[in-house]
Symmetry: C2
Subunit: 203 residues, 2 copies
C-alpha cells in the first residue's frame, strides 16, 4: 500500500503513445535514482541521464525535482493496487503489514526517500497525503470482506482496524528509525484482527 | 511523552551554576525559535539574539544548529517526565494520547520541527530515537500499574499496548498530515486499553 516503487507498474502496461512512454521512463528513473542517492542526490540531470529522456523535455514537463516526485506519487494513485484477498481478516492484514514493512525497510527504500522529501517540499507533502488517503481507502476492503463473511461485527470501523495494524510500522520504522522483524509486523496485524473479531473496534 | 517543549523544564529548576543557566537560556531560545520559524529558519544568530547569550559562546559549546537540536533532545532525556497516574489503564492512556496530540498539533509544534530536522541531520535523527526510546520506556509503567491492579493479565506486553495507543497519532498527524480530533485520539487510547483488558496483547 505504500510502495511508490510500484507506482508505475500499471502505467507500464497501459497503452498511451509516446507521451505515456516518456512518463514511464522518467518515473522509473526517478525511483531508481531515489533508491541510489536519496532525495538529496536527486537531480533532473541524473534523471535525464538514467532515463535517456532529454533534460529539456524533463524541465518542460516536470519543471523541478519536486514536480517529479509529485508525479511519481500521482502515478501511484492512478495504479491498480489492491490489498491481498486471502480469505481471512488476519491473513489479509498480515499480508498488508508485510508489504508495508518491505516498503519501509532497507537503505534504498523509495518510500522513505519520498517521506524525507515531504518534510522539505510542501507539494511533495500534499501528494504523499493524497497517495496515503487513496491507499487507506482501498485497504478498507479487507474489513468490508470480513464483515460480509461474518468474521467481525457489521459496524466494525474499517479505518481504525487498518490504522491499528499498520501505524506501529510507520512509527517504528520511519520516525523511531528502529528495526522491526517480520514476526513483529505480523504481530501488530494479528493484534488488530483479534481486536476487530472481539468486537472492540466498532463505530 | 513527546514534547521537546518540556525538555528544559527540569533543567530550569536544577542548580548548576552559570554553565547550567546558560544552557537553559539557550535551549529555551532554541524552542522558541523552532516554534516561530521551524528548523529551516533556525540560526545560531537568532538563538543568540533571543537568549541574550553571546554567539561566540554558542558556537564554542554547540558548534552547529544540529548541535543545538541534539542538546535539546538530550535535555529531554535528562528530565523528570512521567506519564499521568490516574488509577486506570484507560484513563492513563487517554492522558498520554492527549499529551502526544497536543505536542504534534499546531503550526508551532517544536516536536514537528524536530521531526522535520531529523530527516535532514543524522545526529538529530539519532538524538530523536534516543529521546523516544526513553519516553516509551518510561510509559511502560502505565501497563505495569495495570498489571499490579489486576486490570490486565500479568503477561501483557507493555510496549505493544503503548504503541497501539500512540502510533496512530504519529502516523496521522506527522506522516499523513491530517487533523485528529481529541475524541479520535481518545478512541485510540480506549481501543488499546480494551484490547489489553481483553487479554489480546499478551507476550
Amino acid at each position: 500500500m505504500t510502495t511508490a516503487s510500484r507506482a508505475t507498474r500499471n502505467a507500464t502496461s497501459r497503452p498511451g503513445g509516446r507521451s505515456a512512454r516518456v512518463r514511464d521512463q522518467v518515473l522509473e528513473a526517478v525511483q531508481a535514482e531515489l533508491a541510489d542517492t536519496g532525495y538529496d542526490g536527486l537531480t533532473i540531470d541524473g534523471v535525464a541521464a538514467r532515463s535517456g529522456v532529454h533534460r529539456t523535455t524533463i524541465y518542460r514537463r516536470w519543471k523541478t525535482v519536486a514536480g517529479l516526485l509529485v508525479d511519481l506519487l500521482e502515478a501511484g494513485v492512478d495504479d491498480t493496487w489492491a490489498p491481498a484477498d486471502t480469505g481471512s481478516l488476519e491473513a489479509d492484514l498480515v499480508a498488508l503489514n508485510r508489504e508495508v514493512r518491505e516498503a519501509l525497510s532497507g537503505d534504498s527504500s523509495v518510500t522513505l526517500a519520498v517521506i524525507a522529501a515531504s518534510f522539505r517540499t510542501p507539494e511533495a507533502a500534499e501528494a504523499l497525503t493524497r497517495f496515503w488517503d487513496d491507499r487507506y481507502e482501498r485497504s478498507a476492503v479487507v474489513v468490508e470482506r470480513a464483515i460480509t463473511r461474518g468474521e467481525v461485527p457489521g459496524d466494525t470501523a474499517a479505518a481504525r482496524v487498518v490504522m491499528a495494524a499498520t501505524s506501529p510500522l510507520y512509527h517504528q520504522l520511519v520516525l523511531r528509525r528502529s528495526r522491526m522483524s517480520r514476526a513483529e509486523a505480523d504481530q501488530y496485524a494479528r493484534d488488530s484482527a483479534a481486536a476487530a473479531i472481539a468486537g472492540l473496534l466498532r463505530h
